[in-house]
Symmetry: C2
Subunit: 355 residues, 2 copies
């Protein structure tokens, strides 16, 4: 199942701040660091490891200030974790959405090494009233929101129960090497199972609050309409939705008629594993089951493949893949407008040319 390692060739979605997309047709089991998509909201802060500290405060028994060396001295874990931008696939929305128009490459799975956030929160001692854990990055700037005037930092929160889970790390290595500046050097959060915005880069402050945190980055940006109450409210985007993406054939790929072709791609859920991936070459009328490769690894993607007996009839084919997770959730056919331009996991169509 080993594909050639990507040569990168990232696609610029925005030059500054840096927003760069992975070319998904070059999918490999583990995304190399230089091919991993980059999502930034503000200029990349330049932080030296020796100057970095992590402050842990708020509803804690003991405020902490950890240095980089102190963090690296704590027991660490290493595991592959998928990060997907909450807006991945936005270019697939019709009519055109506002915001960065990611195609299918704002997703990747890398191996992250770090200290469980729970270990640091345990050292600080979360008080009984602790509810939410704010993760604040050193990156900052102005945003287009009158309720958020002046310079603000990028920050997101996790409910305490999620913050204490083992898939939430204070990560300092990516694919076995120190983080690069565009991926959060020296330390970032990794929040397995949640969209990428939760994995705050250039992390410098962890604050436990007694009430839910409701600022810009989770009440306006990265928020969707939730209809649990009488009136819909903007709720924070959290768990990654189940999705399969096709790497090959790629859009407009010329596929030779009458020959076998190996279709392959990746699929993922949020907290759940992928149970099945199906593939269609007739715009979703008939589906064939793909073979899932390797073993399920929690919070990572899973590659899949399928032999396609390409017909003799040349012309354009609409191919599709859809995933179902172990809780029985399948990708929807259409985007739910309540999700605004986030959590985009409806079944995409890839046009290929049989020649």
């Amino acid at each position: 199942m080993n594909e050639a390692v990507s040569r990168a060739g990232l696609i610029i979605r925005e030059k500054e701040p840096a927003n760069r997309e992975f070319p998904f047709p070059s999918l490999s089991p583990a995304t190399p660091t230089n091919a991993f998509f980059v999502r930034t909201h503000f200029p990349i802060p330049a932080i030296r490891a020796k100057d970095w500290t992590l402050t842990v405060d708020g509803e804690v028994e003991r405020e902490l200030r950890l240095t980089y060396d102190e963090l690296l001295g704590l027991p660490a874990t290493t595991s592959p974790v998928l990060l997907e931008c909450a807006g991945n696939g936005r270019a697939q929305l019709v009519p055109k959405a506002k915001g960065l128009l990611w195609d299918t490459g704002a997703v990747g799975t890398a191996e992250w090494t770090g200290v469980p956030l729970s270990a640091v929160l345990d050292r600080a001692g979360v008080k009984e009233g602790g509810v939410d854990v704010i993760l604040q990055g050193a990156d900052k700037g102005e945003v287009d929101d009158p309720r958020s005037p002046g310079v603000i930092h990028f920050e997101r929160s996790l409910p305490l129960a999620k913050a204490m889970r083992p898939e939430v790390l204070l990560a300092y290595k990516m694919n076995g090497k120190d983080l690069t500046p565009d991926h959060g050097f020296p330390v970032r959060a990794i929040v397995g199972g949640w969209y990428g915005m939760a994995s705050v880069k250039w992390l410098t402050h962890v604050t436990v609050t007694a009430t839910p945190f409701e600022e810009f980055w989770q009440s306006l940006e990265y928020a969707y309409w939730k209809r649990e109450r009488e009136r819909p409210t903007l709720a924070r985007v959290t768990e990654v939705q189940v999705k399969a993406q096709i790497a090959r054939p790629g859009l407009s790929e010329a596929v030779p008629a009458g020959k076998p072709y190996r279709v392959f791609g990746a699929a993922w859920g949020g907290g759940s594993d992928v149970a099945a991936v199906e593939f269609s070459t007739d715009a979703g009328k008939k589906w064939a089951e793909a073979r899932l490769l390797g073993e399920a690894v929690p919070f990572a993607w899973r590659l899949w493949e399928l032999p396609w007996d390409v017909p003799e009839a040349t012309g354009r084919y609409q191919v599709m893949a859809r995933a179902t997770d172990t809780e029985g959730r399948t990708q929807p056919e259409k985007h739910d407008a309540d999700r605004r331009t986030y959590m985009i996991n409806f079944v995409f169509t890839v046009e290929v040319e049989v020649v």
Copy 2:
């Protein structure tokens, strides 16, 4: 110099109307049809060849109505012609521009077969007062401009002198086959030397006017600030500006330290040939001359290559290429704001990682 033929894997910039980008790192001498960028403004019109006619009217002696078979009966020429979207490179602008954020792949060179527009204009007999030649496509829709209410067609004009030049074709084949629907089937204009918006697709009307044509697509869209008079005026975008682009190494590509590496890319001018391409690995302090491959072909791009002795020192390098045309014009260092978000040919930086 033959690179592997692209497998396509076009990048979606917008799903509908279809706007798709060529992944420039997969550059080859001639762009395959399925890898050629697609720029559309409205839904793709479905036109059957047997229903298609071309109307030639306005300031002509004899109005014409040509059928597809009649057009194909006229003497045709075949040659490679580069098309570049006037907004190619827009993702490189800082701050972020409005409009489709093309990276570097809204450009391609294909072989086009068609009848010189001049032959058809000669048959119609352009009257002495003819000034401008409007090319109108069958594609239509509404635009966001109060001065252009209702449904309008895509249309652009050429000054009569340009319209009569041999590099302006009524093209019906691309790379030896009938045009595909997304590239203008059954007939499109090909205007060598001008940005792609002039090469009107799904062409159905050619109208010679006695006064310059000044509608939406050349006075607001695809227009730039010209400062020849007292007050700047919005002038139509026309000739392609000289430019070199690097295919390999691609953005974030991992380049092995201490080994030779073959840098390659393409360069082009508008009406002029490329005289030289230079390459820099230190953000433009020192430049080395690249080798131009093959022969200059008017209105096509020219591939270039360069051996790079990659240093032993690992880290990020800012590589750049710049072209100079045979009239001595070199790419600028910065984007001229008067060009708005068109004609983007300042020297781009590609970050690569020597590892």
